[in-house]
């Protein structure tokens, strides 16, 4: 409590005992164990959870004795990891003010598969351990000069807040953060997936199916905010939560945490106009992020329809991503 009182001034200048600065509280950093990679490339693919890549390139291993079992396991894992989002349509406001009646673009979305959870630290660790940052084919050529900046706090390749290329073990099941758009896209490409488009993401969060009812949800669970169903500022958690938490906030297809916890990169650029029709720019190219995060103060900014963007090279503490896949159409 503050008190008004006069301290006695020293009679001569003697440096008084300095008050200690406030401690910078950090949870103890427990580095996760290194991944011991299998020698066999097919088994290694499975170990690294590159299920999409494995199935897309299964012809390469058709002669491998474990190919059938591995592919079966991969499909089972994909069934666990992903959920189908049906076809529908979304309206994307094109004006920053987002007022009712503003210019919108309506986009029809095809069915697609969306990951039930954001990518966790544990999953991303595998990408790092497999040398994902060194595989130039995963990165656009214009980003190669920036690869040297994609380092963690101790100058190892990895998300921004990691140390020595290892994530903090207590947060293995938290969404990975501190990765830019390009890192998210590289992981998705490496694993054989992709990032969802902005329209796909919004479809998954609002579940707007063409029907007589024409229902539009503001949140994956419905229309009313419920801070017990998501992790935003008002929830009071102040940090990320494990990806499997808040099951009551799931979408109808059991995709979790579309709203809250971390913003999620999408595959699209963020392009809007101001109220006078001028383009809203940033220092660099912006990618669209969606969903809000644990530190999103305004509930209206953590909904299925709120649009915002972030500089594509930004590696923020509250931005992660989840993967998507195309639905394989049955052969005619």
């Amino acid at each position: 409590m503050l008190q008004l009182f006069m301290k006695k001034s020293p009679t001569k200048y003697d440096p008084p005992p300095r008050r200690r600065p406030p401690p910078i509280v950090q949870a103890a950093y427990v580095p996760a164990e290194a991944t011991q990679l299998f020698a066999d490339p097919l088994q290694r693919c499975l170990q690294l959870e590159r299920f999409g890549y494995l199935l897309a390139n299964r012809r390469k291993w058709k002669d491998h004795p474990d190919c059938h079992n591995v592919c079966t396991t991969a499909r089972e894992q994909l069934d666990e990891m992903f959920a189908i989002v049906p076809e529908g349509f979304v309206s994307l406001p094109q004006v920053i003010s987002d007022a009712p009646g503003c210019e919108e673009v309506t986009i029809e979305t095809e069915p697609f598969l969306l990951a039930r959870h954001p990518i966790t630290n544990a999953k991303y660790q595998k990408f790092v351990d497999a040398g994902g940052y060194q595989q130039l084919e995963l990165w656009p050529k214009e980003i190669w000069p920036h690869l040297i900046d994609f380092k963690d706090a101790t100058d190892y390749h990895g998300p921004r807040h990691w140390q020595h290329g290892r994530h903090c073990k207590p947060q293995s099941d938290h969404p990975v953060v501190g990765v830019c758009f390009y890192e998210a896209a590289a992981y998705a490409r490496w694993a054989g997936f992709r990032l969802p488009t902005e329209a796909e993401w919004q479809m998954a969060a609002t579940w707007r199916i063409r029907s007589v009812a024409n229902v539009l949800r503001r949140y994956p669970w419905g229309d009313a905010l419920d801070i017990n169903r998501c992790n935003i500022w008002s929830t009071g958690r102040k940090q990320t939560a494990p990806v499997h938490e808040y099951p009551d906030g799931a979408a109808p297809n059991q995709v979790l945490q579309l709203v809250g916890n971390v913003w999620e990169w999408t595959a699209c650029n963020f392009e809007v106009s101001d109220d006078e029709g001028g383009t809203v720019l940033s220092d660099m190219r912006m990618s669209s992020i969606r969903g809000g995060a644990f530190d999103t103060y305004f509930p209206m900014q953590a909904t299925g329809v709120f649009r915002t963007g972030l500089v594509s090279l930004a590696r923020e503490h509250n931005v992660g991503f989840r993967c998507a896949m195309d639905v394989r159409k049955p052969k005619k």
Binding site: E276, M300, E316
Partner: protein
Amino acid sequence: MATKYADTISPTTCLICNTSNEPDALLCEQCDAPMAIVQDAVAQERRPQIVSVIGESNVGKTVYLGFLLDMLAQRAGDFEDVPKGAYSVDLQQSVISHMAQRQFPPKTPMEADQWYWAYYQVRRRQPNAQWVDLIMPDMAGESLAAEVATPKTFRVIYNLLNKSVGLLLLLDAALAANGSTQPDFFAMKMLSYIDSINSAKGRKRIDTPVAVLLCKADHCPECFDNPTEFVKANMNRTWNLCQSRFDSVAFFATSVVGSLGYAVSDDQENVTPIPLHTALRGVIEPFEWIIGQP
């Protein structure tokens, strides 16, 4: 025998400059502080303390203070607060309503009668915690700069800083990270000014707690890793001055905007910054520290 604080002050004497005013005055005739503060203070049993938020023009004082007050009203951290008087809510209402619409609040005018004043009662959410009455004015950065350059240009600022029991000094971390010396020099001037106020009281070192906030730290996230080291590396003059003259200084990084866009007019002459979304970091902690200082 304890006396009520109300018995010791007159309802027409300004709390800031001690000028007598007319009974129906809304603003102090001398310093333009709202007389409602006095009237609210009279009803309490303790003298309100002044905590000043100071900083250069456009550093983010209004936004920071608005969010701080709103977060306290929503019981963020360990604190809860109660506004005294409807005027106290004006600032947070303006900031929140603008930021929610992706706009920065209007510029704080230099005219003191246009400033927002917040009078809040704050306490920790603990059993038997005591209430503390705080007055936190939102001053214009240009007025602060003018007062520092020529003392007593704005007597209200002199009186406020003289009576402050805690200071939140906001500096532009983004500018400092880009190599600009402007934040460093401004901080030096501000701290030197505070030093001169205290020197007039015969103090060799200043024991008023000063929380140095590195604002707009979203532009340079390194600030959050170690604000103290950031100041040492990028604002060395300020660091040295703090070490020499101030007993109680702490460094913090803070950020409100998650992503910033710019709307450019057709003629390329007007560039309007747009806060695309909010991401609050480090807003409560400096205040917690100030309140926790003896």
